[in-house]
Every structure is written in C-alpha cells, then in structure tokens.
C-alpha cells in the first residue's frame, strides 16, 4: 500500500479550483445584526410592508432561539454580530437591464467558474439566475420562459412583480420560526430565486442558479421559492462556490418547494463551497433548510444533491408528503475530505394515503473528515399504504475518517412498509488491486470505484451536471486513498 | 360444478376481466390458454378470493353456492384449490405445519375428526412418494429456498393432501423439465375422478399431452374468445394466439 499511498498523497495536494476573489466594489452593510439592520435590508430592496413585518417577526423569534447542537459537527461559536448581512456588487448604474450591462468582471468570474451563464448558457439551453453574494445579478432566458408562462426571476424581482404569490407561498413550507438558521434567514435574506410554473406547463428548459460568496466577512442568506401549479413540471439546478478565505463564512439558505396536484419538481444541487484547507482552516458553514411539500395528489418532489464542499454541512432536504399518492425522493452523494464535517440527510413525512418515498444516500469520508447521514422517515396514522425504502451506504478512505448513520423510523400506520438498509465499509482492496493489475493508475481506479458507488445518484442528475459532479468528486477525493 | 357468468374484475384501477363466461362440470378437465397479460392469473386469484381484486360484475357459483360471497379460507374448505403461478415463500413457517393445519381446518369444517400426527405422517409420505419429493422438504419453511420446479411440486403435493373438488392450476407446468412435468402430471391425474374437476392454466400443448383436456378455452383481453375440444390447443400451438383474435373479428 505504501507506494500507492505516496502517489495518492501527491494527488491529494490538489487545491480547490474555484478559490479566487473577484475585485469589484461592493455595497455592503457593516457587520452586526439588530432590528435596524433587518429594516435596512428591507428598505434597500423597497419591500412592501408585509414583508418587513414578516422579517421582523422572524428576527424577534430568532432572538429567543438557541443554536442547535444535536448535529454531529463541531465548530467554534459563530459571532453573529461579526457578520455583514448585506453585500451587493455595486453596479455602474442601477440594476442591469440586460446581460450586456452586467459588470464584465462579474461575467468573467462566472466564466472562470465554468458557469453556463452567457454563451454556454444558450448552448446548453440553461437559464441561469446567478446570485453573487446576496443579490441576484442577472437572469437569462427570461423571454423564452415568459412565453411559456414560467416566471423565473430573482427573489427581489418577484417581490416587486408578483407580491401576491410571495405573500401566499413564502414561509408556507418552512415557517419563519422553523429552526434557528431558517429564522435567521427569514429575518435577513437578501435575495435568491423565484420560480412559478403555471398549471399544465412543463418548463421548457432546465432552470439553474449559481451561488457564490465573494466578499469577506459576509454571510449569504438566499431564499428560493419554487411553485409548480397543477400538472406543471420543472427541473431546477443550483451550483455553489466560494473563494478561499481563511475565516469561516456562513451560508444559511432556505429553499421552499410547493407541488400542487399532479405537479413535479426536481431539484438538483451541486455544492462546492470552499471546504477549508487541508488543515481545516477556513471554509463555508453551510447551514441550509430545504423542504418541499407535495401539497397536491399525485405530486412528486425529487431532491438530488452532490455535496463536496463546505467546512461544515448541516442540511436535510425534506419532503412533506401530504397529497394522496404523492412521491418524495432523495438522492445524495456527500463527500468529506480533510477536516470537513457533513451532517446531512433527509426527512420524509408521510401524511397522505399511498405516499411513497425513496432515499438513497452515499457518503464518502476521507482524511480526518466526519460524514453523517441523518434521516427521518415518519408515517402518520393517516398515511395508509405508505411505503419507504432507504438505502444508505458509507465508504471510508483512510484510518482517520469517520462515517455515521443515524436513521430514525417512526411508524404509526400498520399498512405502511418502511425498509432501511445500510452498510459501511472500506473501499474494496481487491477491486483496487484488480484495477491496478490491469494497469490502471491508483487515482483512476479510485475514481472508477467511487463513481460506481455513486452511480445511482449521478444518474438522477440532469445530463450537463452529471459530468460536472463526477469531476468535482474526483477533485475532492484526489489522493484520499492510502 | 363451477359456473362463471359475465365476471368482470379490476385491480389498481385497471379493468382486467371484462365479462368471463365459463362452465366446468364434474369429472371434466379444462385448459385455459391465452397470451401473457390476458388475465388468466387474475381470473384464478379472483376465484380464490384475493381481496386486492375488485369484482365489478358477474356471478360465480361453485357447487350451487355463491363463491364470491365466501371468504378465501371458506372457499378452500369447500373444496376449491388454487395452485399459484408464483407460490410465495414463508420463511419460519414449517411446510408440514401448514399442510396439517390446512387439512385439519378442512376436516373440521366438514365435521370430520382431525387427523392425528401418526395418520398425517403416513398420508403425507404416500403423497410425497407420488410427487417424488424428499422428506427434507417437510421441515423447511414453506417454499423457502425452493427452486421453481420444487415450488410447483409442492403445490401439487398440497393439492393431493387436500383432495379438492376443483383445482385451478395456474401455470403449474411452467419452468419444469420433462421429468418433473411427468411427475406433476401424474400427480394431477391421480386426482381425476368423476366427482372432481381440474382447470389448467397453461401456455404449452405439452402439458396437455399428459393431462388430456375435455375443453380448451382461449382467454384474451379479459374475455374467453374461443372454446373448443383438445384439438384447439394443437391449432393454437401451430397458429399462435393472433389467429384467435383475428378469427374472432372475422
């Protein structure tokens, strides 16, 4: 193993590729948080009164809450007064009217990230809403979507142009007081994406958002709201990156999905926030609340995530299966290397009759990382005929990492069937040896084996992103075997 | 003995049987053939009393009784036997327990005394000989780890022990090699007598070489499209099921 491990060490030294800082003026609030800051954010965005009230209520509730400690993660206490809660890139004039008006440096940033924003966007047929720090910068393909009746815009635009939809759906899945980080987000969120797909419409293209935290000492608190009306369907992808900085940055987003009768929402995430360096310095704290509600009958919500970044991940994309025959899915690959800590999983709450859910979780730990799957499957007495299947596998690479599996199964209906399977093992030495013997390099062999391990999840991703996810995976794990 | 009139049934919101008519008299052997998915197993399961199937119309009488009004276990005790196409495995429940429980349930229902362990063992040994099964099968879980062919033999063994008036055997010949087919056929033939009847659901003429049917029916699209004597089976073997649907249209 030793020659192999040296090779691998060398590979491991591979650095985070997206760590560069964009040098543009930004318009930020000074660090600190009180009601004045909340009001200032709201005012900067010209928000209607109901939204200000909503924020203030959330803020007051947040002040009564305690930061959760149950997750299997360890970090120094966060000083919430040392964070700036608003940081918008200052554009030359007011808001850009079109892509051409967007700060070219910003576009260059996206290009470096390999984001299909401009030319590539068109080629790939992807509509992108890019959130840079806290403000949505530009949205492409508005026209084509508009013709189909699909609303896809920044959250701020939605507040301005569709306040009745916002008022109706905001907080209807994740109430402002749901948890500590959701409450914080509800008070200070600055922007995000909004999607509304009207009844009967299949969204004609993949929708996509790229999130990036740029400014130092800023938190990012974006908010995403997606509504698929009766018989509508949409596939949405978010990507995340952040520059290398040696302090920790906070990302506390909230994503709400609503699927009405016969509607389908597919939400995919490729998360590559800066994970910190090989000694565990810096990196993003990713404390995110994602929840979808299958409100209508025969509706379906599917979460797919590939999580390779962040110093700490705390994230449980969940489904509330209210509508009869509704379906929830969760497919996840979570990779933790070096000193990363990931505590992620899902909740499937079965309320309606004949609701079904599938959970597939693949955790990979390397270096000194801790990777935890935490999942709740709850079947309420009303959910006759409910079914769940959970498969959760962990792969360990190296003697110093850890992998945990914490499922909760709570069943109150005797006609339900809930099944859970889990395994934890080391990457197969014999598989590795087989590949080496056939002349494949250790790196390639590991990649092959790991991507085989993750295949069931990758195949759930939209085509363009499956490749990206695969690449990310190999970058994150380079050198991790030894 | 069995009279099916305009029987319709649906499962999971889908209409499968759409007016089946069939009459089986004592002493007769009938064969039901038909393409995959035509509803043969559905018919068999509906007759056995499976609850997932919703009866949407029609009547079935068995020995003058309203079969559809009876529960599954009552039908079994009244002498109706279903040989399953896919016999379920029941780990932990002993094969011989099940058989004994079934036989005694039937005897109790008929007001007969239960068999004691000694009689039962003698009976089962005799039947297992016919089926050429080793005694090891007795102590295993019901169908647990049995091969496809062993499961089918076990079905016929149960039939021989229970001595039903009417046996519906759903593809009991599928997956059997030629020797097993002979054994299974011999088993079925021992049950042939003027007071009993057998309905064979099958795809293959070869079973009918060993168990000669009095009548052959073609079930397609949830209806009996054609009925005839044993020669119909041979014609089907030659010309395929399409021929039936076409000739029906013509």
């Amino acid at each position: 193993m030793s020659s192999k491990s040296q090779e691998v060490e060398a590979l491991l030294a591979q650095k985070y590729r997206h760590g560069f800082v964009t040098d543009i003026e930004s318009d930020s609030l000074p660090p600190g948080l009180d009601e004045g800051v909340v009001a200032a954010i709201s005012k900067k965005k010209n928000e209607p009164q109901f939204l200000l009230n909503w924020r203030l209520k959330a803020f007051r509730h947040w002040q009564t809450m305690r930061e959760p400690t149950w997750a299997h993660v360890h970090y120094k206490p966060i000083d919430y007064q040392d964070i700036s809660y608003y940081s918008a890139p200052r554009a030359p004039a007011n808001a850009p009217k079109s892509l051409d008006e967007v700060d070219p440096k910003l576009l260059a940033t996206y290009a470096k990230l390999g984001i299909p924003l401009h030319e590539r966007a068109r080629l790939a047929g992807v509509a992108v809403d890019a959130v840079f720090d806290s403000v949505s910068v530009a949205t492409t393909f508005k026209d084509k979507l508009g013709k189909a009746g699909v609303i896809f815009c920044s959250f701020s635009d939605a507040v301005r142009d569709h306040p009745q939809l916002i008022e109706r759906y905001l907080g209807s899945v994740v109430p402002p007081g749901d948890n500590y980080f959701a409450a914080l987000n509800s008070a200070v969120f600055s922007d995000g994406s909004f999607v509304y797909v009207p009844p009967g419409v299949r969204c004609p293209m993949e929708l996509s958002t790229y999130f990036r935290i740029n400014a130092a000492k800023t938190g990012q608190f974006e908010r995403t709201l997606i509504i698929a009306a009766e018989a509508a369907s949409v596939s949405y992808l978010e990507g995340c990156t952040a520059p290398m900085r040696d302090e920790n940055q906070l990302h506390a987003a909230v994503v709400e999905l609503v699927a009405l009768d016969d509607a389908q929402i597919k939400y995919s995430t490729v998360q590559n926030w800066y994970p910190g360096d090989e000694n565990g310095l810096g990196g993003i704290f990713n404390f995110v609340t994602k929840r979808g509600e299958c409100r209508g009958r025969n509706s379906k919500i599917s979460w797919t995530q590939v999580e390779t970044g962040s110093a700490i991940t705390w994230k449980y994309p969940s489904c509330i299966l209210k509508g009869e025959n509704s379906i929830g899915e969760f497919y996840s690959v979570a990779v933790a290397n070096n000193y990363q800590q990931a505590d992620t999983g899902t909740k499937m709450i079965h309320i309606g009759r004949n609701t079904r859910s599938t959970i597939v979780s693949k955790g990979i730990s390397a270096g000194h990382a801790e990777n935890t799957y935490r999942g709740l499957v709850k079947v309420l007495p009303s959910a006759a005929g409910a079914r769940n299947f959970t498969q959760c596998d962990s792969l360990l690479m190296g003697p110093n990492c850890a992998a945990h599996t914490f499922p909760y199964m709570e069943v109150k209906n005797p006609t339900a069937t809930v099944e859970h399977e889990a395994s934890t093992s080391k990457i197969g030495e014999d598989q590795l040896f087989y590949c080496l013997q056939r002349g494949i390099s250790a790196e390639d062999a590991v990649n092959m084996i790991v991507s085989g391990f993750c295949k069931v999840v990758f195949k759930e991703l939209p085509m363009e992103f499956a490749v990206e996810a695969q690449n990310l995976l190999s970058v994150s794990l380079e050198g991790a075997v030894g | 003995m069995l009279k099916i009139t305009d029987l319709s049934a649906r499962v999971a919101g889908k209409d499968i049987l759409k007016g089946v008519n069939l009459e089986v008299g004592a002493g007769e052997v009938h064969a039901i053939m038909g393409p995959n998915g035509s509803g043969k197993s559905t018919l068999a399961q509906v007759l056995a009393g499976r609850e997932d199937y919703e009866i949407t119309g029609g009547t079935v009488t068995f020995d003058g009784q309203d079969l559809l009004a009876m529960r599954a276990e009552e039908r079994a005790r009244a002498g109706f036997f279903l040989g399953f196409q896919y016999p379920v495995e029941i780990p932990g429940v002993n094969n011989v327990y099940l058989l004994k429980a079934a036989l005694n349930a039937k005897r109790r229902a008929a007001g007969e005394p239960e068999v004691d362990a000694y009689e039962f063992l003698a009976l089962i040994r005799q039947k297992m000989k016919i089926m050429q099964m080793s005694e090891a099968f007795l102590t295993r879980g019901v169908n647990e780890g049995f091969s496809g062919g062993e499961k089918k033999r076990n079905e016929v063994l149960q039939m021989l022990v229970l001595e039903p008036k009417l046996a519906v055997l759903d593809e009991t010949d599928s997956g059997l090699d030629i020797d097993a087919l002979k054994v299974v056929s011999a088993g079925v033939n021992t049950l042939r007598d003027p007071k009993r009847a057998v309905v064979l659901v099958t795809h293959y003429q070869r079973l009918l070489d060993y168990i000669a049917p009095d009548r052959v029916h073609v079930l397609s699209g949830g209806r009996i499209l054609k009925s005839g004597d044993a020669s119909l089976a041979q014609e089907l073997e030659r010309r395929g099921y399409d021929w039936v649907s076409e000739s029906q249209v013509a």
């Binding site: 149950w70 007495p381 962990s394 360990l396 690479m397 190296g398 003697p399 110093n400 990492c401 850890a402 992998a403 945990h404 599996t405 914490f406 499922p407 909760y408 199964m409 709570e410 069943v411 109150k412 209906n413 005797p414 339900a416 069937t417 809930v418 099944e419 859970h420 399977e421 889990a422 395994s423 934890t424 093992s425 080391k426 | 056995a48 009393g49 499976r50 609850e51 997932d52 529960r71 599954a72 276990e73 079994a76 005790r77 036997f81 279903l82 399953f84 379920v88 029941i90 932990g92 429940v93 002993n94 099940l98 058989l99 429980a101 079934a102 349930a105 229902a109 879980g141 149960q158 229970l162």
Partner: protein, 445 residues
C-alpha cells in the same frame, strides 16, 4: 446514617428530593465516596427528558412528581409459593436464586453447583470493597446510563456471582417485585464476574406479586474474562402497571463470547438498556431482543455496542411487535472506535405493527471511526405480508391461525438462538398466549 451529602446538589422535584432523602439512610461504608458522586451527578443531571437522545420516545415526566420510598425487605415466606414463577419449568435441572425488591435471599450452603460462588453485595462491600468498586466505576453521564447512576448511588443490596469454571446447569435469578405502596422503588443490582475460560447460562426473570409493584430501577453488570462464555437472559414478565428501568452493562475481555437475550413480555413501561464494550481483540457479542407490545404498554429498548479493539464481532437481532395502543421502540447503536480494525457488526431489526393505533420507532445507528470494518444494518417496519397471508387462507387456514403462524415465524430468528430448551419453551408459551390463535399454535410447536 449518611450525612455527607453536599447541600449544593439541587433537588427541585419531589422525586429528586426523595432520592436525596433515601441517600441519607444509606450506610456509610467504604464505597460511599463513589456512591455519593453518583448521586450528585444524578441530581445534577436530573431525570432524563425527551430531549435526551436515547429518551426521545419515552417520557418519564410523571415520575418527577412521585415521592419515592424504599420498597420493603421481604423474606421467602412473604412470597406466594402458588404463583408459578420459574421460567425453566420443573424438568430442567437448574438452580434458582431469589431476589425480592433487590434483596437477595441467600441459598443454603452447598446448594450451588460447581463453578460458581455467590455473595451478597452488602457482604462484599464489607469484605472486599475494591472488587465491588470495579463494578461501580467508571460513572457515566451518558443519558442511557442515567438510571444506572441512581442505582449505583442507592442500591441497598444485591448479588455478586463469581463464575469460576464451567457451570453445567442454568442458573435462574428470580427477581420478585412486591411493594407495599404506590411510591415504592427498588434498586436490584447483580454483578456477574466470569473468570477467564469459565462458562455459564444465567437467567434473570422479573416478576411481580401483589397489588403494588415498586418502580424497578435494576442494574446488572457483567464482566467476561478472557475466553469466558456466557448466555444471559433477562425476561420481563411484570404486570401492566409496572414501570421497569433496567440497565445492563457488559465488558468483554479477549476472545470472550456473550449471547444476550432481552425479552419483554410484560410490564407497563419497560425501558431496557444494554451497553456492551468489546474492549479486547476477539471479543464477540450476539444480542437478541424480543419486544412485545400490547394493551397500552410502552417498551423501549436501547442497545449500544462499542467495538474498542481489533477483530471484534457483534450481531444484534431485534423483533418488535406492537398491537392495540402500544408503542415499541428499538434503538441500537454500534460504535467502532478508531483502531478497531476488522470490526464486524450486523444489526437486523424488524417491526410488526398489528393495529392502527400502535406505533413502532426504530433507530439502527452506526458510528464508525475506523476504515477496515464491515458494518451493516437492515430495518423494516410493516405488517404481515399480505401474499403470505393469502396463500395460507387459500389453503383453508383460519385467519387467526394464519396470522399467528406468521407472527410466530416472524419471531423465529430470536427464538432459535436460545440454547436452553425449557426456557425457550416457556418463553414461547408466554408469547403464544398473547397471539390471537394460541390454541392451534400450541399444537403446532
């Protein structure tokens, strides 16, 4: 009289005040420093709440209001001899030891088989406090050990069993709970110290007599020496009004093997915890749990198995059934410490829900800190398989019989692990008596 309790310990609820008062009446023997520490920790931590991870599904709030007093000490003559108490029947050669409300009734000299020596804990505290102290420490703040902490502080007596060789007959410890009032509490404590190379089979059977069943805060500590083998059963058969908080701790030396059965047949609220440390190479554990809920019973079983050394192996097999308005919880955790290479663990947990008002909760957890491991778990919760049921009905079986047979089959994986035939038979009998068609089933065994 013990007066050493520091007044700093806060005791807000009647229960905590009562425990503090009980402490005042404990003898100030050589062990009081460690026992006092245990009490202080307990009082500081308080009763566990549903915010504590292993108590998520069991709410003990109602206990806080009770002013507990020690259950009375009783002698053999106070126990109703008519009530059939033995788990092992009359045919199996066995040795019984009686423990009433935690107080052992010592057997006549010479009545014990070879390979075993016993002594009461009270005696041991006087003769050899260092040995006893080894079984009281280390104290743990972990929430699954909360009641063990209280037992350590407040137990009045108990049994120390030293297994020195091969004990050829099963040993039955019959715990009788027989209180005088509604606020009685008892602290039974058993220590099983198995010498290297020894082997034994030990039953702990918990039953109740009379109108009042004390709150039973029992604790058993098992230490297996190198190569020792133990088959241990704890069977709860108390009445529907009984509350039983039982903790079992097992520490295993090299190449030792423990087969452990936890069988909940009775009791109103049963909380059974099992904590095993496989601290030396080659140690192995096979744990079986059979948890039956009916009426409005609440059964909460917590297993925590730690692989602390290389080449350790554990299996956990749990079968839970919940009917009526009962709730059954099976919470199991396997921890593999860093360095415990080649650890292997298997957890299989299956739950059967028999009524629309019952609930089963299960959490099969893995916490793995080493990479050369093979750990897996499977858990299911559901009803009897409808295909199996239909198959049996179509053969003419009664619905009740068919269901009972399937339930029986469901439990088979646990029952077949039992090596003592008479115990298996009487446990099966007790189980079958709770199934819908017990008569037919009896005939089929």
């Amino acid at each position: 009289m013990n007066t050493a309790l520091s007044p700093a310990a806060p005791a807000q609820s009647p229960a905590l005040r009562a425990f503090a008062a009980q402490w005042q009446s404990r003898p100030a023997d050589a062990l009081w420093p460690v026992r006092e520490k245990a009490l202080q920790r307990f009082l500081k931590l308080g009763l566990p709440t549903t915010h504590d991870e292993t108590w998520r599904y069991t709410n003990l709030r109602s206990l806080a209001a009770q002013s507990f007093v020690d259950a009375p000490r009783k002698s053999r003559s106070d126990i109703d001899p008519e009530q059939p108490l033995s788990l092992l029947g009359r045919t199996e050669p066995s040795v019984s030891l009686l423990v009433v409300n935690g107080h052992p009734v010592m057997p006549a000299a010479g009545s014990l088989p070879d390979g075993i020596e016993i002594c009461s804990l009270r005696e041991l505290a006087g003769l050899d406090p260092d040995t006893l102290r080894r079984f009281l420490e280390p104290l743990s703040d972990a929430d699954q050990q909360r009641w063990a902490l209280l037992n350590t502080a407040l137990f009045l007596d108990g049994l120390y069993l030293k297994i020195t060789g091969t004990v050829s007959v099963p040993l039955l410890i019959l715990h009788v709970a027989a209180g005088d009032g509604a606020d009685d509490i008892s602290y039974p404590r058993i220590v099983i110290d198995a010498a290297p190379g020894s082997s034994a089979t030990i039953f702990e059977h918990h039953v109740a007599q009379g109108e009042h069943t004390p709150l039973n805060n029992s604790n058993t500590h098992i230490a297996l020496g190198r190569g020792a083998r133990l088959e241990h059963y704890r069977v709860y058969s108390t009445g529907a009004g009984a509350t039983h908080l039982d903790s079992l701790v097992v520490r295993q030396d090299q190449d030792s093997h423990c087969k452990q059965f936890t069988i909940a047949l009775g009791g109103g609220l049963v909380r059974a915890s099992l904590e095993v440390r496989l601290d030396k190479p080659g140690a192995s554990l096979d744990s079986y749990s059979l948890l039956v809920g009916h009426g409005d019973r609440h059964v909460d079983c917590v297993n925590i198995v730690t692989h602390g050394a290389p080449n350790t192996r554990s299996t956990q097999t749990a079968r839970a059934i919940a009917g009526d308005v009962s709730r059954v919880i099976f919470n199991s955790k396997v921890i593999v410490d860093a360095g415990a290479v080649n650890a292997q663990s298997q957890q299989s947990c299956r739950g059967l829900l028999m009524s629309p008002t019952a609930e089963i909760d299960t959490r099969p957890q893995l916490e793995i800190h080493a990479d050369e491991v093979k750990c897996a778990h499977g858990a299911t919760i559901g009803r009897l398989d409808p295909d199996m049921l239909f198959y049996m009905l179509s053969r003419g079986l009664d619905r009740d019989t068919a269901q009972s047979l399937l339930v029986y089959a469901f439990l088979a994986d646990v029952l077949t692990g039992m090596s003592v035939a008479s115990a298996r038979a009487s446990i099966e009998n007790a189980l079958i008596a709770q199934l819908p068609d017990s008569q037919t089933l009896q005939k089929f065994r």
